[in-house]
Symmetry: C2
Subunit: 180 residues, 2 copies
């Protein structure tokens, strides 16, 4: 086995591992393979480069690179004289992890918070309605306390994402000292 072959095999192993785990970011294996390919490619790539490298249609490359960019796993690059769009991976993986929370989790937290607060308001009002049965009131009160718990949970999640974004998380889990 010659050197180039060894190199490619070593790269391929990493790319395939990324492909098979990127579902944690809500992306498809194909997008993962695309990311992995770009990771080892030193210059920014065009859609045509990716088509060639991965043997997939340009349309697919376009849509999946968009998904990668939305999560800020890749970014656009500019090289003077090149007309085509260029993409490269963002090389700060710690920040990419944080971005997952900033983008996907934050949105989910917000949707939950809105829904919970709305339901809580309705149930509080229902609880104060004198016309309902004692039995129903008991159930309503239980639901209220459940939703208060959930509200607090998402409020905590919100603060957790803040702690990621503010990089406070690196106080708790420090980066490895560079070069040792």
């Amino acid at each position: 086995m010659d050197g180039k072959e060894t190199l490619d095999k070593a790269r391929e192993r990493i790319i395939e591992t990324i492909a098979q785990n990127i579902h944690l970011y809500g992306l498809t294996p194909s997008a993962g393979r695309q990311y992995g390919t770009m990771f080892f490619h030193d210059e920014p790539m065009t859609l045509d480069d990716m088509t060639e490298e991965l043997g997939m249609s340009k349309t697919s490359m376009s849509t999946s690179v968009r998904a990668l960019a939305e999560l800020k796993l890749v970014e656009r690059a500019w090289i003077r004289g090149v007309r085509k769009d260029l993409y490269q991976v963002k090389d700060d993986w710690y920040q990419s992890f944080i971005n997952l929370f900033s983008i996907k989790w934050r949105r989910s937290i917000s949707l939950h918070s809105v829904a919970v607060r709305k339901s809580l308001r309705e149930l509080e009002q229902l609880k104060n309605n004198p016309d309902i049965s004692e039995e129903l009131r008991t159930i309503v009160e239980m639901d209220i306390s459940k939703l208060e718990y959930v509200r607090d949970y998402f409020e905590w999640m919100d603060r957790l994402v803040d702690a990621f974004e503010d990089h406070d998380i690196f106080d708790l889990v420090p980066l490895k000292e560079h070069g040792e």
Copy 2:
């Protein structure tokens, strides 16, 4: 609109929100609806209960409750005299969040670490091979430093999950004081 109707609507909003966000846990909306239904159901539920409540087949209920259990979002319960399997939601949502990392992320981290270390070993060996071209050696060295970065990243991720599991994360992002 009578009281029961208001209650159901308030619950339905939450359930649907869970269903539409549980993809972050790698689960389907159906499993989310199942979880939400169990969340508001005070006694543990049987598969037949879920079939009735959700209008889906018992087979589906069986497979998706298994997915929920695997992530420890639900657990089995026992009530004396009841022959059927019973399930209830685990009510510590903070722990459930942590479990996602313990179970899904930890596995991914491990797979990545293994792959990266294996490729690193191969590339180190290749680098020390005197027969390769200077050009190739340069590429290999660049890949090595990329993979060392990745290795360190997953080592950090491993410590992050540790910090979740050990509940150190609550030092950084404290729980809301109970009852205020």
